[in-house]
Symmetry: C2
Subunit: 197 residues, 2 copies
DNA sequence: CTGTCTCTCAATCAATTGATTGATGGAAAC
DNA sequence: GTTTCCATCAATCAATTGATTGAGAGACAG
């Protein structure tokens, strides 16, 4: 992941307000007036900083990407075993899910729009690709060290992990105990188990 | 799943046109004028059949639910082993993914909106719950018959299966070979493996 | 033939909404 | 002190868009 230009000042305020509103009302409910009101500025001032709504959405995507990178780099992983790293991923996801769910909600919303907007796709796809590759790398290491199944398909398993986490976000945001069960199931699905009897 | 009222005639045409447009342009791009144009009727005629846009969306959700039930009931499963049933699920998903992807795209779009619209949620949630429960049931049977891991958590594993399929839909729609790898990984994750001597 | 019911449309409304304009205040530059 | 540039706002525009109105065509019953 190359470093995108950081968003700061008024632009950052605008991006955050937009993110909040997208999380609250969805993309179709996003109105430039509401963003301006939340920032506390005039609509014209908003358009002074961000010429069009399209540009605004791109800025939101960049802002999200910055957060993602920051969170990713804030994780110390040296010296941890693959299982521990994976558990760290789960804990990280769980924390964001409960304390900053807006991030995943907006992410999903943008991911959706990326299907039809190349500029959004350019910001979003790298994040998703990075997440998948990072997860696959963990699985490769675990397999090579003999803690994960020898017949595991790292890329496919990475998609399994991410898909399970994403799905859990929508269906278990209010049921953390179930989220933990899903994570435990993922580990059991990946790890080498003691032979029967 | 109780049977919803079937949509037919002009209403069915309208629902299908709306589904196509939602799949093409997303929810925010849905315009009553466009729907009317695609059906080949006047906007006023559209509003004669469907009073408000909200009602229209509800009809789309019902239409989707009908399809879902029809597809679900068209599957003969008697006499099949849990593994075979699960493989049938995968094949079914794969077929819809390639031949009627619009169904899943609209489903995702509605699922999103269900977060903020109780009427949509009432149509969508039962489908999702049904899918999860049905999958969990398959896993329970497989576990009890000794083909799936004894320590499997059926509900969590069902979420894993569905999450993986859903994620595959977005990231592997153009790469069926990878979709198959994901399905194979799911099976390996669930099945009892020969003990490593 | 008349009345009624269903379905349709052209024309129009009213509200929303992204974007622009022209002006103002203040800080830095010269 | 004057000029220049940045940020801001009130007011307004122009287009979009969901919805309504009033009229008409066709089928069918009596």
């Amino acid at each position: 992941m190359s470093a995108p230009k950081p968003i700061e000042g008024r632009l950052a305020e605008i991006a955050m307000a937009a993110r909040e509103l997208i999380a609250e009302r969805g993309f179709e409910g996003l109105r430039t007036r509401d963003i301006a009101a939340r920032v506390g500025i005039n609509v014209a001032t908003l358009h002074y900083h961000v010429p069009t709504k399209e540009a605004l959405i791109r800025i939101v995507a960049q802002s999200l990407r910055s957060d993602f990178i920051a969170q990713s780099q804030a994780r110390p992983r040296q010296g941890l075993s693959p299982v521990e790293v994976l558990k760290l991923e789960f804990a990280d996801f769980r924390e964001t899910m409960t304390e900053a769910p807006e991030r995943y909600i907006v992410m999903a919303e943008l991911s959706d729009r990326a299907e039809r907007d190349a500029a959004i796709a350019a910001e979003i796809r790298p994040m998703q690709a990075y997440w998948r590759r990072m997860t696959a790398d963990i699985i490769v290491e675990g397999r090579d060290k003999g803690v994960f199944r020898a017949d595991v398909d790292p890329e496919a398993a990475a998609m399994m992990v991410i898909g399970t986490l994403s799905m859990s976000f929508w269906h278990a945001r209010d049921d953390l105990e179930f989220f933990d069960r899903a994570c435990a199931e993922l580990l059991r699905a990946l790890m080498v188990r003691p032979s029967k009897d």
